[in-house]
Amino acid sequence: MVPRRGCWIGAFAIVMGLSCAAKSPEPKPTPPDMSVLVDSYEHPTLSLDPSNVRLAFEASMSVSASVQTAVELVPQIQTAVHAGLNADGDQKQIGASSNGSNRTIDVTGSGFLLVHRICPGTAVGGGPNEANGSIDLTIGFTERGIDPVVWGTFNACQFVLGGAPATVQGAVQMYVGENLTFDKFGTEPVLVAVDGALTDVSGTAGLAMDCRIAPTGAFEYRVFVGTQHVIYWDDLEQRGFRAANGTWTCQLDLHLCTRDEDSQQLAW
């Protein structure tokens, strides 16, 4: 005897509840707007002249410690991003396994990653421990590569800063540039903004800082004189200012800056 197949299959599907509606994919979160900050690095507003060069110099020195902290934070961020993106020779592979197994993702569309990275802590060889705090990052992607802004938080993240234990709490934003392919991450300068607090042996202090860092170790940051700003730059061999009226290379110990374009000098 042949059963009435339609009845059975219908009942079968109902029992199994497979007719439930599919839920929409998780919406891609909107990244913070870093366009104003990015633009301010491209377009310094202050023209250096004899009346303000000393102020610019003093301002640059006053924030250099915070900048150094931010510079040392960047590898922590980049490590977390790399762990999520691990290009591993294939520009579209994400999340390759540390043990070499085939755990990769081939991006075929738009989406995002949530990366949770346990901080290294202050003890050498301690292994992963959530008590050491963490970094949570959101990384958007398309087939073209990483979205321009990566953002997240330091959650009581403990690590060694300048040879001493330190803890960072707060928000972080990182501008990696437009159309950065996965394999190019870490090879281009990144603009990092941190807004939080740093606790070290001297106590807890606010940490609100932004800087742009190149893979070579060269860095630059904004220096405000009043409401206007110049960009202090240091390529590890030379240093100076980018201002609205040109790029200046300075001998800070001599209190002398020379404009690259026409060798005009400023002294203070």
């Binding site: 029992v15 199994m16 691990n86 085939n102 993702i105 989406g111």
Partner: protein, 266 residues
């Protein structure tokens, strides 16, 4: 989640319909044969009932204990005196959070559909060939570690089972399984990977997970089936990519592949 896999793993080998190895009572798992009208096969792993002469309904028992709802049907179509063909359809549904409230939200749907042809080459030898398509739908967050690395993606497998009836009670079996193709995960799921011991990555969006790429996986499992008047036992031990029976998730690594089947038939 491991409990789910174990439950399916053990129970999956139990969808069969054996009693004394006779012309009318034949192995059901991996073949085109059904129980027969008003016949019950009941064990700790599965329950089956011959609703009509060539039509069975069945369910995997153990998965229900871990809240994996499942139900299946099998329809045997005699083609010639020695050849039978049987389409079979099963369906599984698991809401992982009902099993473990601490788990990320994930609903797994699996619908295996296979067509099996069995050829009685002689009185003692039967050869079966199955084409198995399994549709997998994930909705929620899929943590590969939680699934023991199993590739829960839609796939197409070819399974060949050779049976040699050694005695009236004992039959020898050899099963070869090959994963010929797999499809990409649906986009309504997210995936959790652990690229190293410090890092957890959740992936949301359209992505092809090489982590779940187990194409060309295979397994070869020799075994034996004993069938008495009502009691049936089957064991097997082979090697290859372990296939979670029923839902047809495939483990990416090769390992020993056990089979176990116990039930009574009336």
């Amino acid at each position: 989640m491991s409990a789910v896999l174990c439950g399916c793993a053990v129970a999956g080998y139990a969808v069969s319909s054996d009693a004394y190895h006779t012309d009318k009572q034949r192995l059901g798992y991996g073949t085109a044969y059904t129980l027969g009208k008003r016949t019950i096969a009941l064990g700790p792993f599965t329950a089956q009932y011959g609703l009509f002469d060539h039509f069975d309904v069945g369910t995997y028992v153990l998965p229900w204990f871990v809240r994996v709802g499942n139900l299946g049907v099998k329809w045997q179509l005699p083609v010639t005196d020695t050849v039978d063909v049987a389409p079979q359809l099963y369906s599984f549904r698991l809401d992982v959070q009902k099993l473990n409230a601490d788990s990320p939200p994930l609903v797994i749907g699996a619908v295996p559909f296979d067509v099996t042809a069995s050829w009685r080459a002689s009185k003692d030898h039967t050869l079966s060939l199955s084409a198995v398509y399994t549709w997998i739908h994930l909705q929620g967050t899929f943590d590969q570690e939680a699934l023991e690395g199993a590739a829960a993606v839609s796939n197409f497998q070819i399974v060949s089972t050779w049976e040699y009836r050694w005695t009236r009670v004992t039959a020898l079996l050899l099963r070869l399984r090959y994963l010929a193709h797999q499809w990409q995960p649906t986009a309504s799921a997210s995936y959790v990977l652990h690229p190293d011991e410090y890092t957890t990555v959740e992936v949301y969006g359209d992505a092809r997970l090489d982590a779940l790429d187990v194409r060309h996986a295979w397994s070869l499992i020799p075994g034996a089936a004993w069938s008495w008047e009502t009691f049936n036992l089957r064991v097997g031990l082979g090697y290859g990519n372990y296939n979670v029976p029923g839902v047809n998730f495939v483990l990416p690594r090769k390992t020993l592949c056990p089979e176990l089947d116990v039930f009574w038939r009336w």
